[in-house]
Structure formats: C-alpha cells, structure tokens
C-alpha cells in the first residue's frame, strides 16, 4: 500500500505526519520524500545514506555538421527550447521537457539525446525503514521528472509513505498520483481551509480516497471541521498545539520518538487507513 501525505498549504505538518507514520510502521516499510524542492524528512529520520545517483533528463544534442537548419525541430518544440536564427541553431536545455519531438522530427538525423542534470536521489536506511529522497538541483525548474524518478525507486511489496510537496499543480500530481490513500494535513485557519479545499479537489480529480489530519487543532476556528463534515472526509487525527511538540519539531525530533502516546496514535491511524482502503468502516 502507498499512502501519500499532502496538504495544499505548506507548513501544516506534512513532514511531521509522514515521518511519524513511517516510523510507527516498523520494519518492511519505506518513506519516499517527494518534496524535492524542499526535502526535509531526512532531517527527522536521520538515515545513513548508502547510495546516491544523479538524475538527468534527455535534452537535444545537435550535430552542427549534420544540421541543415531546416527548422523542423523548432516547429515541433512546444517549449521554445530550440531557436534557429539565420545560419545558427541554438538550444535552451533548461526549457526542454525532454519529449524527444525534435529528435523524431529531424530529417537529417542530426539530433541525439543529450543530458541535463535535474537533481540527485539518495537512498538510506534507519532502523529497518528504507528511505529515499530527491533533491532538485538549485536553479533547476522542473520538479516532476525528478519526483517520478523518486517514485520509481520504491519497492512495491513494502508499505510506502510518500511526503508530497505543497500546492495543487504538477509536482503534487506527480507525487500523489496512483497512491492508494492520501492523508491531507491542514490547520484550522482560513489559509489552511482555502488550500485544503484545493487539495480535496485534486484528490477527487485523481480519484484517490482521502482522510484528514488537523494539526494545531486548537489554534484557529471550527470552519475546517465543518467543511470536513460537509464533504464527508473522515478526520483521522487531531494534533493540538503544544509548545513541546513545536520545539521537538524545531530540533528535528519525530513526534513518535519523543512522546510515546503518539506512537500508539499513529499505529491506530495506519489501522484506520487500512480499513478505509479496504472499504470497511472505522
């Protein structure tokens, strides 16, 4: 089973939930941090990294001698990554999405797949938990291809927790698509509610069943709880604001390791998710 943890709004506690859930699963579990722009789960899991790979994307490599300057490649490219000006052909690899259209269109066979480095993937372990995350190269714009690569590194026979990026656009889609359940983490504030509504719509479009965790559940107002009741989204956990939790978080200490009662609550959360995915009531 793959459980993704998403939120719409940033800073609501996705990483807190994802790391604590993964740690409470015991052995035979894995955590994949797909927030490749701002990967933080490793700061809590503190895995021993065992391997690192560089991730690249295909970009056009044009053989200047073979190129006839016909302009077919430029005509196909939707992303303005190739420009022919008079006798010169230029590529803008950072704009390329790697579709291969230019290569297929070139009648002279002058284009090969080159490479653009988009980031790295690191693999590690912590007490039997498998850990993998991606780190987007600073200056690289495209997170989704790296997120898809991180996703492809998870082992299908293990229970997987995915820490997703905030928002509702392509990086989130890449992180939560084809997961069995999405845990939406929010806070009971107007910003939390506004962005939760967007996240719920995203989950609906992708047809993923969802459940809600309300973090800092006593800091705001009741509109998030009312919305969840109206939309019939199960509230699976409420985490009250406690300065001790916030301080433990600030030091990179997972909630389940500092407060033993929270380990039991996260185990119950996983049992509830299993039941919901199986179509049982909780």
């Amino acid at each position: 089973m793959i459980i993704s943890v998403a939120s719409g709004k940033g800073g609501t506690g996705k990483t807190t939930v994802a790391t604590s859930l993964a740690l409470s699963l015991g052995k035979n579990a894995q955590l994949a941090d797909c927030d490749v722009e701002a990967p933080n789960a490793h700061l809590f899991i503190k895995p021993e990294f065992e391997a690192e790979e560089t991730v690249t994307m295909p970009v056009p490599k044009i053989d200047d001698d073979k190129c006839t300057r016909c302009g077919e490649c430029e005509a196909v490219c939707q992303f303005n990554a190739i420009l022919t000006v008079a006798d010169t052909i230029m590529t803008f690899p950072e704009l390329c999405h790697g579709c291969g259209g230019c290569k297929a269109a070139c009648p002279a066979g002058a284009i090969e797949d080159g490479k653009r480095t988009i980031g790295t993937i690191q693999h590690g372990r912590c007490n039997g938990l498998d850990f993998v995350h991606g780190r987007l190269r600073i200056g690289e714009a495209m997170a989704p291809p790296l997120i898809r690569q991180v996703r492809s590194r998870v082992t299908p026979d293990k229970t997987t927790v995915i820490d997703a990026p905030p928002g509702t656009s392509c990086p989130v889609i890449a992180a939560i698509k084809n997961t069995d359940f999405v845990l939406l983490v929010t806070e009971p504030t107007p910003f939390g509610l506004n962005d939760l509504e967007l996240a719920v719509e995203t989950a609906k479009i992708l047809q993923i069943p969802s459940g809600l965790i309300i973090n800092r559940s006593d800091i705001g107002d009741s509109r998030v709880a009312e919305y969840a009741a109206r939309e019939k989204i199960p509230v699976l956990m409420e985490i009250p604001y406690q300065r001790e939790i916030a301080e433990a978080y600030s030091r990179g200490e997972p909630v389940v390791e500092v407060f033993s009662q929270w380990r039991r609550r996260f185990e119950k959360l996983y049992a509830d998710i299993q039941n919901l995915v199986a179509g049982r009531t909780i």
Binding site: A38, T168, C170, L206
Partner: protein, 286 residues
Amino acid sequence: MKELVVISGKGGSGKTSMVAALSQIANNPVLCDADVDAADLHLILSPQVKESHEFMAGHTARINPELCTGCGKCVEMCRWNAISADFVVDPIECEGCGVCYYFCEQGAVEFPENLSGHWYISDCRFGPMVHAKLGIAEENSGKLVSLVRKEAGKIAEANGHEMVITDGPPGVGCPVIAAIGGASAVLVVTEPSVSGRHDMERVVDLAAHFSVPAMVCINKYDLNQSASDGILRFAQERGVPFAGRVPFDPAMTQSMVKAQTLFEYDPDSPACAAVREVWAQVLKRI
C-alpha cells in the same frame, strides 16, 4: 520602482502574514500574489476585482476516435505514458509536448490550448492588487507567476507607485524561479527549525544563482533560540543582510482568522513592533 519578493523555501513560515502586514505599513504599494498554486493573500486583503482575465497556456492532446486507425505510433512515441492502449489521452499525464499531434499520420490528434486559470486586477484597502488562480492540477504556474508580476509592475509604473510587494510561492522550482527573476530583492522568511534552516539555505542559494539580492528574517524566533542564532550566523557568514526577527505571537494566527492584518488586529502586539523593524531594514537595503 522597486519590487520586493517574499519567499521562504519551506511553506508555512509566515510569508503571507508578513506580506499582508507590510501592505499596510508600506507607502502606497502595489500588491502581487505570485503563489498562484495556493493563493491566500486575498483572504486577508479582500480585493475587489476590477478586471478578470483568462489565462491560456499550454496544450493538451485529444484523440478523435473517428479518425484514429489504431496504428499505435502515438503510444510508442509518448514519453509520458499518457496514452492508453485503446488510444485515450490522460489529460493529467499529458505534458502538452505535441509529439502525438505532430506525428499522427491520420491527423487524428487534436491539440487545443488550455484554459489554465484566471488572473485579476483588483483594488484592496492598501492599494492595487494583482492576483491569480491556477486551475487545479494545471501546469504552467511559472508563466502565470511571470504574468502577474509583469502586470503589477505595469500598474506601479503607470501610477507612480514606488514599491511592488510580491507574495512568493514555496520551494525552489519553476514558480519560485519565475517569482524572483529580476526582482530588486527577496526577503526570505524562515523559522528556527531544522526544516526552516535547511530550506532557507536552498532559497538563499537560489537567489545567489540568479543574482537577486537576498535578506533574511526569522519568524517565531523564540521557539528555538539556538536555531535562530544559527540562522543569524549563517546569514553573517554568507554576507546576507539580516532584516530582523519576529517573536512567536498568537496574534499572527488570530489576525488571519479575523481576515485582518497583524496591524489591524492588534497594533500593540510584540509581532507588530518586530515587523516594523523588519520593514525599516528592508527599506534601508532595497
């Protein structure tokens, strides 16, 4: 005309609350919400929309079953696995590259432009505001970010506003790159936690990569004093001006619940004094 873009790397560090507060104490600013993916500034500033525009960007392929002969070329060429075995395009997976459209020998692939969202020119109680709403699960957020910034800049130039204050998106990818390019300065709002620190370092690197001057301020600094000290040392070592620190103050959340800026909710709160000091530092540096 200057543009200050407020970013953070990590989400939830207080960017939008900071921008809303600065909106009130800045002298005649234009406001711009460049977090088009999960825009929240309008929840505080309650803009009255004067102009609404469609945002058309990118294309999505659609296969006409009447014309499709099932040759399979599109499935074979699509690098996104967006076309099913029975030749239906998944619009979510479709990258909009047009490869299927260009290479279909039957002309069975349609490739219409997408309505990806909307953008607005509005008035709010502190001045003109440009904001947008990207459609759910849409792409091209970078283009929309560039567009709202450009429009905010035009309004400022045309009406003699000296400052655009832009609420930026989280992360370091496409929308953030679009949000900071060419800005006068970025103000990085961070928090004293391992995550806040880690992501702050990444956006400081990003700003340096694109040669945009950065400043750093800490929100909720008293939550972890030693982490705050570490951020201050980092800023000094990197030569990044330190713009100040705001204490943890329940007024931050309470003002948001009331749809007010910090200064409207409680002008005497400790956070207000600190935000004034941050603004004074920003004005000195920008």
